[in-house]
Symmetry: C2
Subunit: 244 residues, 2 copies
Protein backbone atom coordinates (compact mmCIF):
# COMPACT_ATOMS: atom_id res chain seq x y z
CA UNK A 1 0.00 0.00 0.00
CA UNK A 2 2.17 2.78 -1.35
CA UNK A 3 -0.11 5.59 -0.18
CA UNK A 4 0.76 4.80 3.45
CA UNK A 5 4.46 5.34 2.77
CA UNK A 6 4.17 8.36 0.50
CA UNK A 7 1.68 10.26 2.66
CA UNK A 8 2.18 13.73 4.08
CA UNK A 9 0.05 15.95 6.27
CA UNK A 10 -1.91 18.51 4.23
CA UNK A 11 -2.73 21.92 5.69
CA UNK A 12 -3.85 23.80 2.54
CA UNK A 13 -7.03 22.75 0.76
CA UNK A 14 -8.77 23.57 -2.51
CA UNK A 15 -12.03 25.51 -2.34
CA UNK A 16 -13.95 22.36 -3.14
CA UNK A 17 -16.42 20.49 -1.01
CA UNK A 18 -16.44 16.83 0.01
CA UNK A 19 -19.73 15.18 -0.92
CA UNK A 20 -21.88 13.64 1.80
CA UNK A 21 -21.72 10.39 -0.15
CA UNK A 22 -17.92 10.24 -0.08
CA UNK A 23 -17.69 11.37 3.53
CA UNK A 24 -20.20 8.76 4.68
CA UNK A 25 -18.45 6.06 2.69
CA UNK A 26 -15.17 6.91 4.48
CA UNK A 27 -16.93 6.90 7.84
CA UNK A 28 -18.36 3.43 7.12
CA UNK A 29 -14.79 2.22 6.54
CA UNK A 30 -13.70 3.90 9.80
CA UNK A 31 -16.42 2.02 11.69
CA UNK A 32 -14.99 -1.34 10.55
CA UNK A 33 -11.90 -0.72 12.71
CA UNK A 34 -11.46 -3.03 15.69
CA UNK A 35 -13.50 -2.01 18.74
CA UNK A 36 -13.57 -3.32 22.31
CA UNK A 37 -16.32 -5.93 22.66
CA UNK A 38 -17.91 -4.48 19.49
CA UNK A 39 -19.18 -1.62 21.67
CA UNK A 40 -18.09 1.20 19.29
CA UNK A 41 -17.30 3.63 22.08
CA UNK A 42 -16.96 6.73 19.91
CA UNK A 43 -18.90 9.44 18.12
CA UNK A 44 -17.84 11.71 15.28
CA UNK A 45 -18.95 15.33 15.06
CA UNK A 46 -18.93 16.70 11.49
CA UNK A 47 -18.37 20.46 11.24
CA UNK A 48 -19.09 22.01 7.83
CA UNK A 49 -20.86 25.28 8.74
CA UNK A 50 -18.82 28.47 8.96
CA UNK A 51 -20.34 29.21 12.35
CA UNK A 52 -19.33 25.79 13.66
CA UNK A 53 -15.74 26.21 12.46
CA UNK A 54 -15.59 29.68 14.00
CA UNK A 55 -16.77 28.21 17.30
CA UNK A 56 -14.00 25.58 17.23
CA UNK A 57 -11.22 27.90 16.03
CA UNK A 58 -10.22 29.39 19.41
CA UNK A 59 -9.79 25.93 20.97
CA UNK A 60 -7.37 25.16 18.13
CA UNK A 61 -5.41 28.42 18.60
CA UNK A 62 -6.95 29.77 15.37
CA UNK A 63 -4.88 27.50 13.16
CA UNK A 64 -6.10 28.44 9.65
CA UNK A 65 -6.92 24.84 8.64
CA UNK A 66 -9.95 24.87 10.95
CA UNK A 67 -11.78 27.56 9.03
CA UNK A 68 -10.27 26.85 5.60
CA UNK A 69 -10.90 23.08 5.37
CA UNK A 70 -14.28 22.05 3.95
CA UNK A 71 -14.74 19.51 6.76
CA UNK A 72 -13.54 19.33 10.35
CA UNK A 73 -14.10 16.05 12.19
CA UNK A 74 -13.94 15.73 15.96
CA UNK A 75 -13.62 12.12 17.07
CA UNK A 76 -14.89 11.64 20.62
CA UNK A 77 -14.68 8.96 23.26
CA UNK A 78 -18.38 8.10 23.79
CA UNK A 79 -19.51 6.04 26.77
CA UNK A 80 -22.79 7.96 26.90
CA UNK A 81 -24.61 6.13 24.09
CA UNK A 82 -23.75 2.68 25.44
CA UNK A 83 -24.58 3.71 29.01
CA UNK A 84 -27.92 5.15 27.88
CA UNK A 85 -28.73 1.86 26.11
CA UNK A 86 -27.90 -0.08 29.28
CA UNK A 87 -30.13 2.16 31.39
CA UNK A 88 -33.03 1.62 28.99
CA UNK A 89 -32.49 -2.15 29.20
CA UNK A 90 -32.61 -2.69 32.97
CA UNK A 91 -28.81 -3.01 33.13
CA UNK A 92 -26.46 -1.26 35.61
CA UNK A 93 -23.58 0.26 33.60
CA UNK A 94 -20.14 0.88 35.14
CA UNK A 95 -18.41 2.83 32.38
CA UNK A 96 -17.84 6.18 34.13
CA UNK A 97 -14.22 5.58 35.10
CA UNK A 98 -10.58 5.82 33.93
CA UNK A 99 -10.43 2.30 32.44
CA UNK A 100 -13.30 3.07 30.08
CA UNK A 101 -12.00 6.55 29.30
CA UNK A 102 -8.81 4.92 28.00
CA UNK A 103 -10.66 2.06 26.29
CA UNK A 104 -12.94 4.62 24.60
CA UNK A 105 -9.87 6.60 23.53
CA UNK A 106 -8.40 3.48 21.93
CA UNK A 107 -11.67 2.74 20.12
CA UNK A 108 -12.00 6.33 18.91
CA UNK A 109 -8.39 6.58 17.72
CA UNK A 110 -8.49 3.33 15.73
CA UNK A 111 -11.58 4.65 13.95
CA UNK A 112 -9.95 8.06 13.40
CA UNK A 113 -6.82 6.63 11.86
CA UNK A 114 -8.80 4.23 9.66
CA UNK A 115 -10.78 7.22 8.41
CA UNK A 116 -7.52 9.03 7.60
CA UNK A 117 -6.07 6.09 5.67
CA UNK A 118 -9.30 5.70 3.70
CA UNK A 119 -9.48 9.44 2.99
CA UNK A 120 -5.88 9.62 1.76
CA UNK A 121 -6.49 6.61 -0.47
CA UNK A 122 -9.24 8.67 -2.15
CA UNK A 123 -6.86 11.57 -2.75
CA UNK A 124 -7.97 13.69 0.20
CA UNK A 125 -5.50 15.30 2.58
CA UNK A 126 -5.77 15.40 6.36
CA UNK A 127 -4.18 17.18 9.30
CA UNK A 128 -4.39 16.14 12.97
CA UNK A 129 -4.81 19.02 15.41
CA UNK A 130 -2.83 18.29 18.56
CA UNK A 131 -4.66 21.16 20.23
CA UNK A 132 -7.63 18.85 20.93
CA UNK A 133 -6.14 17.66 24.20
CA UNK A 134 -4.91 21.16 25.12
CA UNK A 135 -8.31 22.81 25.24
CA UNK A 136 -10.85 20.01 25.65
CA UNK A 137 -13.33 22.10 27.64
CA UNK A 138 -13.70 24.66 24.86
CA UNK A 139 -14.43 21.85 22.40
CA UNK A 140 -16.88 20.18 24.80
CA UNK A 141 -18.76 23.48 25.04
CA UNK A 142 -18.67 24.27 21.31
CA UNK A 143 -19.93 20.81 20.30
CA UNK A 144 -22.34 20.48 23.27
CA UNK A 145 -20.90 17.15 24.36
CA UNK A 146 -22.86 15.50 27.18
CA UNK A 147 -21.34 13.67 30.15
CA UNK A 148 -19.26 10.58 29.22
CA UNK A 149 -18.34 12.09 25.83
CA UNK A 150 -14.85 13.53 25.37
CA UNK A 151 -12.97 14.90 22.31
CA UNK A 152 -9.76 12.97 21.64
CA UNK A 153 -8.79 13.76 18.03
CA UNK A 154 -9.64 16.49 15.54
CA UNK A 155 -8.76 16.29 11.88
CA UNK A 156 -9.22 18.77 9.08
CA UNK A 157 -10.03 17.17 5.72
CA UNK A 158 -10.01 18.50 2.16
CA UNK A 159 -8.67 18.20 -1.36
CA UNK A 160 -4.93 19.04 -1.24
CA UNK A 161 -3.76 22.41 -2.50
CA UNK A 162 -0.10 21.80 -1.64
CA UNK A 163 2.40 18.98 -1.84
CA UNK A 164 4.94 19.55 0.95
CA UNK A 165 8.11 17.51 1.26
CA UNK A 166 7.78 14.45 3.47
CA UNK A 167 8.99 15.03 7.01
CA UNK A 168 11.81 12.90 8.40
CA UNK A 169 11.31 9.89 10.65
CA UNK A 170 13.69 8.23 13.09
CA UNK A 171 15.30 5.05 11.74
CA UNK A 172 13.25 1.93 12.43
CA UNK A 173 15.80 0.67 14.96
CA UNK A 174 14.95 3.68 17.15
CA UNK A 175 11.35 2.50 17.47
CA UNK A 176 11.45 -1.30 17.38
CA UNK A 177 12.72 -3.52 20.20
CA UNK A 178 13.18 -7.30 19.92
CA UNK A 179 11.63 -9.31 22.79
CA UNK A 180 12.23 -6.75 25.56
CA UNK A 181 12.86 -3.01 25.72
CA UNK A 182 16.47 -2.19 25.02
CA UNK A 183 17.51 1.05 26.57
CA UNK A 184 19.49 3.62 24.65
CA UNK A 185 23.12 4.37 25.47
CA UNK A 186 24.22 7.96 24.79
CA UNK A 187 25.96 6.76 21.61
CA UNK A 188 22.65 5.21 20.44
CA UNK A 189 20.82 8.48 20.95
CA UNK A 190 23.55 10.33 19.04
CA UNK A 191 23.30 7.91 16.12
CA UNK A 192 19.48 7.69 16.04
CA UNK A 193 18.92 11.47 16.19
CA UNK A 194 21.89 12.40 13.95
CA UNK A 195 19.88 12.67 10.74
CA UNK A 196 17.15 14.79 12.36
CA UNK A 197 19.75 17.09 13.90
CA UNK A 198 21.59 17.43 10.58
CA UNK A 199 18.59 18.71 8.59
CA UNK A 200 18.97 22.30 7.35
CA UNK A 201 15.42 23.20 8.47
CA UNK A 202 16.18 22.01 12.00
CA UNK A 203 19.49 23.87 12.13
CA UNK A 204 17.60 26.98 11.01
CA UNK A 205 15.04 26.33 13.76
CA UNK A 206 17.83 26.31 16.39
CA UNK A 207 19.32 29.51 14.97
CA UNK A 208 15.99 31.41 14.75
CA UNK A 209 15.21 30.57 18.36
CA UNK A 210 18.71 31.44 19.54
CA UNK A 211 19.14 27.99 21.13
CA UNK A 212 22.13 25.67 21.39
CA UNK A 213 20.41 22.41 20.49
CA UNK A 214 17.29 21.24 18.64
CA UNK A 215 16.06 19.59 21.85
CA UNK A 216 16.05 23.02 23.53
CA UNK A 217 13.68 24.28 20.83
CA UNK A 218 11.26 21.58 21.95
CA UNK A 219 11.68 22.04 25.70
CA UNK A 220 12.00 25.86 25.82
CA UNK A 221 9.78 26.98 22.93
CA UNK A 222 7.41 24.41 21.46
CA UNK A 223 6.43 22.15 24.37
CA UNK A 224 7.48 23.54 27.74
CA UNK A 225 7.17 21.85 31.10
CA UNK A 226 5.11 24.75 32.42
CA UNK A 227 2.56 24.50 29.61
CA UNK A 228 2.39 20.70 29.91
CA UNK A 229 1.67 20.89 33.63
CA UNK A 230 -1.11 23.44 33.11
CA UNK A 231 -2.58 21.36 30.26
CA UNK A 232 -2.35 18.16 32.32
CA UNK A 233 -4.42 19.79 35.03
CA UNK A 234 -7.01 21.12 32.56
CA UNK A 235 -7.20 17.78 30.76
CA UNK A 236 -7.64 15.85 33.99
CA UNK A 237 -10.30 18.27 35.22
CA UNK A 238 -12.17 18.15 31.92
CA UNK A 239 -12.12 14.34 32.08
CA UNK A 240 -13.53 14.45 35.61
CA UNK A 241 -16.03 17.11 34.56
CA UNK A 242 -17.34 14.82 31.82
CA UNK A 243 -18.06 12.19 34.45
CA UNK A 244 -15.08 9.84 34.18
CA UNK B 1 -9.95 0.51 -0.39
CA UNK B 2 -12.12 -2.59 -0.18
CA UNK B 3 -9.93 -4.34 2.40
CA UNK B 4 -10.95 -1.77 5.04
CA UNK B 5 -14.62 -2.63 4.59
CA UNK B 6 -14.28 -6.38 4.25
CA UNK B 7 -11.90 -6.84 7.16
CA UNK B 8 -12.50 -9.11 10.16
CA UNK B 9 -10.49 -9.84 13.25
CA UNK B 10 -8.47 -13.06 12.94
CA UNK B 11 -7.74 -15.21 15.99
CA UNK B 12 -6.52 -18.43 14.31
CA UNK B 13 -3.26 -18.41 12.41
CA UNK B 14 -1.39 -20.79 10.10
CA UNK B 15 1.84 -22.32 11.39
CA UNK B 16 3.81 -20.02 9.14
CA UNK B 17 6.20 -17.28 10.08
CA UNK B 18 6.24 -13.65 9.05
CA UNK B 19 9.59 -12.68 7.55
CA UNK B 20 11.63 -9.91 9.15
CA UNK B 21 11.60 -8.16 5.78
CA UNK B 22 7.79 -8.05 5.62
CA UNK B 23 7.41 -7.13 9.28
CA UNK B 24 9.90 -4.27 8.99
CA UNK B 25 8.25 -3.03 5.83
CA UNK B 26 4.90 -2.85 7.65
CA UNK B 27 6.54 -1.08 10.59
CA UNK B 28 8.01 1.51 8.23
CA UNK B 29 4.49 2.21 6.97
CA UNK B 30 3.25 2.46 10.57
CA UNK B 31 5.92 5.08 11.32
CA UNK B 32 4.58 7.33 8.55
CA UNK B 33 1.39 7.88 10.58
CA UNK B 34 0.85 11.41 11.90
CA UNK B 35 2.74 12.14 15.12
CA UNK B 36 2.69 15.12 17.49
CA UNK B 37 5.45 17.57 16.54
CA UNK B 38 7.16 14.70 14.66
CA UNK B 39 8.31 13.41 18.06
CA UNK B 40 7.28 9.74 17.45
CA UNK B 41 6.34 9.12 21.06
CA UNK B 42 6.07 5.34 20.81
CA UNK B 43 8.05 2.12 20.78
CA UNK B 44 7.07 -1.32 19.48
CA UNK B 45 8.16 -4.50 21.21
CA UNK B 46 8.26 -7.53 18.88
CA UNK B 47 7.67 -10.87 20.60
CA UNK B 48 8.50 -13.95 18.52
CA UNK B 49 10.19 -16.24 21.07
CA UNK B 50 8.11 -18.89 22.84
CA UNK B 51 9.48 -17.74 26.19
CA UNK B 52 8.47 -14.17 25.49
CA UNK B 53 4.94 -15.19 24.51
CA UNK B 54 4.67 -17.34 27.62
CA UNK B 55 5.73 -14.36 29.75
CA UNK B 56 3.00 -12.19 28.19
CA UNK B 57 0.24 -14.82 28.26
CA UNK B 58 -0.92 -14.36 31.89
CA UNK B 59 -1.36 -10.60 31.40
CA UNK B 60 -3.66 -11.45 28.47
CA UNK B 61 -5.67 -14.01 30.49
CA UNK B 62 -4.03 -16.83 28.50
CA UNK B 63 -5.97 -16.06 25.34
CA UNK B 64 -4.62 -18.67 22.88
CA UNK B 65 -3.72 -16.11 20.19
CA UNK B 66 -0.80 -14.89 22.29
CA UNK B 67 1.09 -18.18 22.14
CA UNK B 68 -0.28 -19.35 18.77
CA UNK B 69 0.41 -16.26 16.65
CA UNK B 70 3.86 -16.06 15.04
CA UNK B 71 4.23 -12.45 16.14
CA UNK B 72 2.88 -10.44 19.07
CA UNK B 73 3.41 -6.67 18.95
CA UNK B 74 3.10 -4.45 22.00
CA UNK B 75 2.79 -0.78 21.04
CA UNK B 76 3.91 1.49 23.87
CA UNK B 77 3.62 5.15 24.72
CA UNK B 78 7.30 6.19 24.90
CA UNK B 79 8.34 9.52 26.40
CA UNK B 80 11.59 7.99 27.64
CA UNK B 81 13.55 8.10 24.38
CA UNK B 82 12.66 11.74 23.69
CA UNK B 83 13.35 12.74 27.30
CA UNK B 84 16.71 10.96 27.21
CA UNK B 85 17.63 12.86 24.04
CA UNK B 86 16.68 16.16 25.71
CA UNK B 87 18.80 15.36 28.76
CA UNK B 88 21.82 14.61 26.56
CA UNK B 89 21.33 17.94 24.74
CA UNK B 90 21.28 20.35 27.72
CA UNK B 91 17.48 20.67 27.50
CA UNK B 92 15.01 20.43 30.41
CA UNK B 93 12.21 18.06 29.39
CA UNK B 94 8.71 18.27 30.90
CA UNK B 95 7.05 15.17 29.48
CA UNK B 96 6.36 13.23 32.69
CA UNK B 97 2.71 14.19 33.04
CA UNK B 98 -0.87 13.34 32.03
CA UNK B 99 -0.93 15.56 28.93
CA UNK B 100 2.03 13.71 27.44
CA UNK B 101 0.73 10.32 28.52
CA UNK B 102 -2.39 10.99 26.43
CA UNK B 103 -0.43 12.56 23.57
CA UNK B 104 1.87 9.53 23.56
CA UNK B 105 -1.16 7.24 23.52
CA UNK B 106 -2.55 9.05 20.48
CA UNK B 107 0.82 8.79 18.71
CA UNK B 108 1.14 5.09 19.55
CA UNK B 109 -2.40 4.21 18.50
CA UNK B 110 -2.19 5.96 15.12
CA UNK B 111 0.95 3.95 14.41
CA UNK B 112 -0.68 0.73 15.66
CA UNK B 113 -3.74 1.11 13.46
CA UNK B 114 -1.65 2.03 10.43
CA UNK B 115 0.35 -1.14 11.00
CA UNK B 116 -2.89 -3.15 11.11
CA UNK B 117 -4.23 -1.66 7.88
CA UNK B 118 -0.92 -2.30 6.13
CA UNK B 119 -0.76 -5.87 7.47
CA UNK B 120 -4.30 -6.70 6.36
CA UNK B 121 -3.58 -5.30 2.92
CA UNK B 122 -0.78 -7.88 2.68
CA UNK B 123 -3.17 -10.69 3.58
CA UNK B 124 -2.21 -10.95 7.24
CA UNK B 125 -4.79 -11.13 10.02
CA UNK B 126 -4.68 -9.24 13.31
CA UNK B 127 -6.39 -9.26 16.67
CA UNK B 128 -6.33 -6.45 19.25
CA UNK B 129 -6.03 -7.64 22.85
CA UNK B 130 -8.14 -5.40 25.10
CA UNK B 131 -6.40 -6.97 28.07
CA UNK B 132 -3.44 -4.61 27.58
CA UNK B 133 -5.06 -1.89 29.70
CA UNK B 134 -6.36 -4.43 32.24
CA UNK B 135 -2.98 -5.71 33.34
CA UNK B 136 -0.43 -3.09 32.34
CA UNK B 137 1.93 -3.79 35.23
CA UNK B 138 2.40 -7.44 34.22
CA UNK B 139 3.26 -6.31 30.69
CA UNK B 140 5.62 -3.61 31.96
CA UNK B 141 7.45 -6.28 33.96
CA UNK B 142 7.51 -8.90 31.18
CA UNK B 143 8.85 -6.46 28.57
CA UNK B 144 11.12 -4.60 31.05
CA UNK B 145 9.70 -1.20 30.18
CA UNK B 146 11.57 1.70 31.82
CA UNK B 147 9.94 4.79 33.33
CA UNK B 148 7.93 6.91 30.85
CA UNK B 149 7.14 3.86 28.70
CA UNK B 150 3.64 2.34 28.92
CA UNK B 151 1.89 -0.45 26.93
CA UNK B 152 -1.27 0.82 25.23
CA UNK B 153 -2.10 -1.75 22.52
CA UNK B 154 -1.19 -5.36 21.86
CA UNK B 155 -1.92 -7.11 18.59
CA UNK B 156 -1.36 -10.67 17.51
CA UNK B 157 -0.41 -11.04 13.84
CA UNK B 158 -0.30 -14.03 11.51
CA UNK B 159 -1.49 -15.61 8.28
CA UNK B 160 -5.23 -16.30 8.67
CA UNK B 161 -6.39 -19.85 9.30
CA UNK B 162 -10.07 -18.93 9.56
CA UNK B 163 -12.54 -16.63 7.83
CA UNK B 164 -15.18 -15.73 10.40
CA UNK B 165 -18.35 -13.85 9.48
CA UNK B 166 -18.07 -10.08 9.79
CA UNK B 167 -19.45 -8.76 13.05
CA UNK B 168 -22.30 -6.23 13.02
CA UNK B 169 -21.85 -2.50 13.39
CA UNK B 170 -24.30 0.16 14.53
CA UNK B 171 -25.83 2.15 11.66
CA UNK B 172 -23.77 5.21 10.71
CA UNK B 173 -26.41 7.57 12.11
CA UNK B 174 -25.68 6.14 15.57
CA UNK B 175 -22.08 7.36 15.37
CA UNK B 176 -22.13 10.56 13.32
CA UNK B 177 -23.48 13.92 14.52
CA UNK B 178 -23.88 16.99 12.30
CA UNK B 179 -22.42 20.22 13.77
CA UNK B 180 -23.18 19.46 17.43
CA UNK B 181 -23.85 16.34 19.48
CA UNK B 182 -27.46 15.25 19.16
CA UNK B 183 -28.59 13.28 22.13
CA UNK B 184 -30.52 10.04 21.76
CA UNK B 185 -34.19 9.80 22.70
CA UNK B 186 -35.28 6.35 23.94
CA UNK B 187 -36.89 5.71 20.53
CA UNK B 188 -33.52 6.47 18.86
CA UNK B 189 -31.75 3.95 21.07
CA UNK B 190 -34.43 1.34 20.28
CA UNK B 191 -34.02 1.90 16.55
CA UNK B 192 -30.20 2.09 16.53
CA UNK B 193 -29.69 -1.04 18.65
CA UNK B 194 -32.57 -3.06 17.09
CA UNK B 195 -30.44 -4.92 14.57
CA UNK B 196 -27.80 -5.84 17.15
CA UNK B 197 -30.47 -7.06 19.57
CA UNK B 198 -32.19 -9.09 16.84
CA UNK B 199 -29.14 -11.19 15.93
CA UNK B 200 -29.50 -14.90 16.71
CA UNK B 201 -26.02 -15.04 18.29
CA UNK B 202 -26.89 -12.19 20.65
CA UNK B 203 -30.23 -13.77 21.59
CA UNK B 204 -28.31 -16.95 22.33
CA UNK B 205 -25.87 -14.94 24.45
CA UNK B 206 -28.76 -13.60 26.56
CA UNK B 207 -30.23 -17.09 26.95
CA UNK B 208 -26.95 -18.77 27.90
CA UNK B 209 -26.29 -16.19 30.58
CA UNK B 210 -29.84 -16.35 31.90
CA UNK B 211 -30.29 -12.58 31.43
CA UNK B 212 -33.27 -10.52 30.33
CA UNK B 213 -31.46 -8.18 27.94
CA UNK B 214 -28.27 -8.10 25.88
CA UNK B 215 -27.16 -5.00 27.81
CA UNK B 216 -27.24 -7.06 31.02
CA UNK B 217 -24.79 -9.52 29.47
CA UNK B 218 -22.37 -6.61 29.12
CA UNK B 219 -22.95 -5.05 32.54
CA UNK B 220 -23.32 -8.25 34.61
CA UNK B 221 -21.01 -10.70 32.82
CA UNK B 222 -18.55 -9.22 30.32
CA UNK B 223 -17.66 -5.78 31.68
CA UNK B 224 -18.86 -5.21 35.22
CA UNK B 225 -18.68 -2.01 37.24
CA UNK B 226 -16.70 -3.78 39.95
CA UNK B 227 -14.03 -5.02 37.52
CA UNK B 228 -13.84 -1.61 35.83
CA UNK B 229 -13.26 0.17 39.11
CA UNK B 230 -10.49 -2.23 40.10
CA UNK B 231 -8.91 -1.94 36.66
CA UNK B 232 -9.16 1.86 36.74
CA UNK B 233 -7.24 1.91 39.99
CA UNK B 234 -4.56 -0.48 38.67
CA UNK B 235 -4.25 1.42 35.40
CA UNK B 236 -3.92 4.77 37.17
CA UNK B 237 -1.34 3.37 39.60
CA UNK B 238 0.66 1.76 36.79
CA UNK B 239 0.65 5.11 34.94
CA UNK B 240 1.91 6.87 38.05
CA UNK B 241 4.41 4.07 38.66
CA UNK B 242 5.87 4.61 35.19
CA UNK B 243 6.50 8.25 36.11
CA UNK B 244 3.57 10.09 34.51
Amino acid sequence: MDSLKSRRTIRKYQQKDISDELLNDLLVSACRASTCGNMQLYSVIVTRDEAGKAALAPAHFHQPMVTEAPVVLTFCIDLHRFTHWCELRQAQPGYDNFEWFITGAIDALLATQTFCVAAEEQGLGICYLGTTTYNPQQIIDALRLPKLVFPIATITVGWPDECPAQTDRLPLEAIVHQETYHDYAPADIDRLFAYKESLAENKQFVLENAKETLAQVFTDVRYTKKDAEAMSKALYEAMKGQGF
